[in-house]
Symmetry: C2
Subunit: 413 residues, 2 copies
């Protein structure tokens, strides 16, 4: 019905549709794309802080809201926003239609509040596109065929919906937000931070998992798996943002410095050093649906010492999981540190350029900054340091790797 490459999926976040005026602005964006001759599929998040308000309402009503009912509740936010955008598009002279996740054919498993997309049946979307309509799809939600229930997809699922729709429709995916793209560092900390024109999926994944908030991690994974090109750009300007795609066009050694100030570090000491204990600990934490980041372990006098960091919002459930483990494994001590932050260097080129870690550690040492924890991947080095010192560390690393200058471009073909 719709040929590849003539369709675009455009996603706008909650702050882009926070009030009627912004909704009309977003509607104009969709109409402009349509009038450039594209088939346009849109997905918008709930207005402003709607989801937070609904969550607050649920916890005012019930100490532990039923997950199935939570999905019934939370799925309304995106539906409201999509219906309003569709109305505003109509006023600009184009036809639009909004669909709930289930109407759009977004089929998921049946895990409430964090369902996984299994498949998108795009028939109804394609039929509406063929009629020349702009199609709005409520993000963050789907439908389980097994249980006949409405599901939601969990954190960052607005971006995920957009990428999944793009994969289904063979479309490019534009993620609009209040930042103009992916930067070499947070421009609020580093005035010379530079917008990156193009970045690889792998680098973007590392950035998303180490503090960059432009794109949600799960959406980048999905885009990589289905080779969906993502264009991360500003809601408010026409200028090009950052393309996330198979191969970054640049041959930078280091692409960006990212940071995160919300990690909480747990240190467990006096753990019995038996085989399987570490596994049991992380099973316990994982069953609380916590994403553990950096992990460090040492063995001192036959007792293990272990540190790991988790996102601040997971600190409570991590604490509960550990209490259960203490009952199961015998007494060990727990220390919680909320005063650390993480600074990371990301770059596909560091694979083939030894010495990046040394330069990073030297730069921080020259500032007298202590490294509390270190973790690495082939294209990332992260250090946990004093949270107060994050801004100067980011600035110093940005300067040390000369990120304010565009890298020399080598043609990739």
């Amino acid at each position: 019905m719709t040929a590849a490459f003539d369709t675009v999926v455009m996603k706008f976040g909650g702050s882009s549709v926070a009030d009627p005026e912004k909704i009309r602005l977003v509607a104009r964006r969709f109409v402009e794309a349509r009038r450039r001759g594209l088939n346009v599929v849109g997905t918008v998040s709930a207005m402003g802080k709607t989801t937070d308000s609904l969550l607050a309402l649920a916890s005012d009503v019930s100490p532990s809201p039923n997950p199935r009912e939570l999905d019934m509740l939370l799925s309304t936010g995106e539906r409201i926003a999509c219906a309003l955008v569709a109305m505003a598009i109509g006023d600009l002279g184009e036809e639009a239609v909004s669909y709930t996740g289930s109407q759009a054919g977004i089929l998921t498993d049946s895990t409430h509040t964090r369902a996984k997309i299994r498949e998108i049946r795009g028939d109804r979307i394609r039929a509406s596109l063929a009629q020349g309509k702009i199609v709005l799809v409520a993000g963050f939600q789907g439908f389980s065929r097994d249980t006949m229930e409405i599901t939601t997809l969990g954190r960052g699922a607005g971006d995920l919906t957009a990428v999944a729709l793009a994969a289904t429709l063979g479309a490019a995916c534009e993620i609009h937000s209040d930042v103009a793209g992916v930067f070499t560092a947070d421009p609020r900390l580093v005035p010379g931070a530079r917008k990156i024109p193009s970045i690889s999926y792998d680098e973007m994944l590392e950035m998303a998992s180490s503090g960059a908030k432009v794109l949600a991690l799960r959406s980048v994974e999905l885009a990589r798996n289905h080779a969906v090109r993502i264009h991360a750009r500003s809601t408010f300007t026409d200028e090009e943002g950052t393309w996330v795609q198979e191969t970054g066009m640049e041959k930078a050694i280091i692409s960006a410095v990212t940071h995160s100030e919300t990690d909480v570090v747990f240190t467990l000491t006096g753990i019995p050093d038996r085989p399987g204990v570490a596994a049991r600990i992380f099973e316990g934490v994982a069953s609380a649906q916590v994403n553990v980041d950096t992990i460090i372990q040492n063995v001192v006098h036959g007792r293990a010492e272990m540190s790991f960091s988790v996102p601040a919002e997971d600190a409570g459930s991590t604490r509960d999981a550990i209490t259960n483990l203490q009952e199961e494994l015998g007494a060990f001590d727990v220390e919680v540190n909320r005063e650390l932050g993480k600074v990371s260097l990301i770059g596909a080129g560091m694979r083939s350029h030894p010495g990046v870690a040394a330069t990073m550690f030297r730069t921080l040492a020259d500032l007298g900054i202590n490294l509390e924890m270190i973790s690495t991947s082939p294209i990332k080095i992260s250090c946990m340091i004093d949270r107060d010192r994050i801004p100067e560390a980011v600035r110093a690393l940005h300067a040390a790797f000369q990120l304010e200058r565009p890298p020399e471009v080598e043609p990739t073909m």
Copy 2:
């Protein structure tokens, strides 16, 4: 699956679920009914002023919101309330599940914003009841099989949903609100107003159409057609309210005095007195979906003069319809009076008791109140009078017909 008479449909209005505390109170009502051994189906309206807020949002976004999108938008309000009530019921130790109109099998025609219920497929509700669950159904909405679209049912449709569910399930229907039942007059105007234990469908229909707000007109019609007994009662107390059923148990001549202060009266003068002109005028007004109430016509010197009243919220669209008619039928004059109110006497017994009208007119005349318009049905007499004089008229009529005293009861069998 569920035997007749062991199921109850309980409906709560928006003010009964306006905040988390009230939601927990309503949840307790459902749980109490369940623990009395009943199958419980609930339907609740959107919280407090949610529907008004959503409508205001829509009109901020668009001067004339697309009706299909308006339904996508407005249907969320009841879903939110039902999900929250289901959560609260879970906390009280009973199982509950909330369904959207389409999940509950409420099938409608495809007229957006004022759809009519065609059928309720109660399978999913019955299956959940058979599992011992309390079933919450989002009121005010349904689903069109023809268009595969979500619809809403228009004004008063929360009550309508409850009655339709009761008809489908062979259940009694409890309509809970912030008033304790149907009264012989508005207790805020008449301190001696008495709660009526039982009233016939016909009387209730006349009351609903002449200003009593306890039950929505459409729901009473549906209840009469399907012989559903309605129990109108208070959200906040256990005391019996008013039963609306085939035969009122009382043999009152006059059951109640009702009043309305929101009518707007249009007077058209100088209309050409040709056959078909009146029909054309009311076709024009009806096509604007306006419910015309009282109509009076006179012919003076070959030109007709006509007055009719409409609800205040329809005054704008009536005005527009008349402007179109002036273009079509030739010039005539229009006068709009927003300073009148309506006082009505309702009573199935007046059919066989002549002289009720005379007593009514005498009572008002003794107060020096002018009758601007009069309309009658076999069981109702309405007078349009100065809006300012409504309270004293209601009090005088309540006293003249001795409504503060329970009528003598004659057994009906």
